[in-house]
Point group: C2
Chain length 300, copies 2
């Protein structure tokens, strides 16, 4: 029997097709075995799910705002972890190149001033977090002559990285690379992973890229480090607070590039999410383990 | 016998070492068999070379300003074609991502406005000119999900390109790709390769990247196209005129990103040139054909 899948809060044609292609049938919430939720925000999510719902697919890769809703004995929740890895890694590469290549200053220039710039070629890039985004970025960096240092929780070797450090060796990494890409989940353990001390340890030409969550970087410390010229610059798709309010000092800090959380733009989102929905509906129908089940204790 | 190689107008330690490693010996101009010239400009170059000089290595990949000096019966001149392919291709990729990912607008923003943006993923990129730079860029694009259309003089298939067009099919390419990277040499045949008609044929979201020479694009036509919103934007490392004077309308045209001819920054230049000098000195000493001899008729 085809599992009954409710799509909310609104229907999307690509997701409807994916449910069908995975072997499911669209259904009202009351009759549903599973829910595919398409809104990033928690507001409109049903206060109480019908007892028949055994699985909820969330649309986002980072799920920290959803954790309070996920109980031990309720349905299985799955995140979209890994789903948007390619567009987000692509954005991270764009931010990294924009920083290293001096494009931020150029975008603001109205005069021809050939100033000394660096190349990404020949540099060492540390990638903090080697989940889907980190691994996709490592693949994108493969044709570039860069040395990659990956940082993962347990330090298991990551394909394409020259070396991998475990999280407890993280304090060493800041002086061992030229540039840093933050792509780790937001958890209690990663909050303010980058603060004043870490920024001081980075080389003065180093760029810091964040495509994870704003909370991983101490914003005040970053603003100070940018003004002091302690690092080359910061390119951030995520900020703390977010949205970054008008007049916030990050907007005008030297060598700061802010993009408004669009590493995974809407044009790419539904296409990628649809693939995951199809596969997870197929697994749900077949009784196989779902992709990216959320572990509320780990926080992702 | 080690060939005598004069390095001018000033000595560089990396180039001196390369001459030695290639089997040559440093020499004064009067005694030289060969000259390695390190200045981009023609001004300081000897008006008349001693008769003993049989080979001149120039430092630049594009040599249009040197052509008047290259006679049929003088020494062989070699360019640095291909030498800086990697740093220049890296810059081209940075410009392309900056354009497609909306980083130009973001660098100028002081307010959080999540606007619709595109991804490079899923797009078609036309690369006009598949010499060293074009081929290096194709390698860098390999891990990205993009379709590559290469345009070469004769249309011979280029590795990594989904299809290759010959120069005489160029008029078709402007409507067949999302984005365009100009990486062809500046010759009489490529002057104003991109003009009003070509810009009109490009998609309204298309970005135009130029890392070749400013003369390949009609500047007035480009400024008009940017103001009319006929293309997504233009990211240019080279301009016409160059340097771009203060107050030039390109500085303030919508979605224009100008970098001051620094795709191959000084920090990368000597390192890459040294490799070529070593190899060409070795070939010169062994009587083998030199890399990148200039054909004055072809213009490169």
């Amino acid at each position: 029997v085809a599992p009954k899948v409710h799509i909310g809060p609104q229907v999307d044609p690509a997701i409807e097709r994916a449910v069908r292609d995975g072997g499911g049938a669209a259904a009202a919430l009351e009759a549903a075995d599973a829910v595919v939720w398409l809104d990033w925000r928690t507001d409109g999510f049903p206060e109480r799910l019908p007892d028949g719902v055994r699985w909820v697919q969330l649309p986002s890769a980072g799920v920290e705002i959803w954790l309070p809703r996920i109980g031990a004995d309720g349905p299985v929740y799955t995140s979209a972890a890994g789903v948007y890895a390619v567009p987000v890694a692509e954005h991270a590469l764009g931010l990294l190149l924009a920083g290293v290549r001096g494009l931020v200053a150029s975008a603001r220039a109205t005069s021809w001033r050939p100033d000394p710039r660096r190349t990404l070629e020949g540099s060492t890039v540390a990638i903090v977090g080697a989940g889907g985004i980190g691994r996709a970025l490592i693949e994108m960096l493969a044709p570039h002559d860069v040395e990659i240092v990956a940082v993962t929780r347990r330090g298991r070797p990551v394909a394409g990285a020259a070396r991998t450090l475990a999280a407890d060796a993280l304090p060493d990494v800041w002086s061992q690379a030229d540039h840093f890409v933050i792509a780790a989940p937001a958890t209690g353990a990663t909050r303010h992973l980058v603060g004043a001390e870490q920024l001081r340890a980075m080389p003065a030409h180093g760029w810091l890229v964040n495509v994870a969550r704003g909370s991983l970087i101490g914003t005040d410390a970053l603003v100070s480090a940018l003004h002091a010229g302690e690092i080359g610059g910061a390119a951030l798709d995520v900020t703390d607070p977010e949205p970054l309010p008008d007049g916030h000092p990050l907007w005008t800090a030297p060598n700061a590039l802010i993009t408004p959380h669009i590493a995974n733009p809407p044009s790419a989102m539904m296409r990628h999410l649809a693939e995951r929905v199809r596969e997870n509906v197929r697994r749900f129908a077949a009784g196989e383990p779902l992709l990216a089940p959320i572990d509320p204790d780990a926080g992702y």
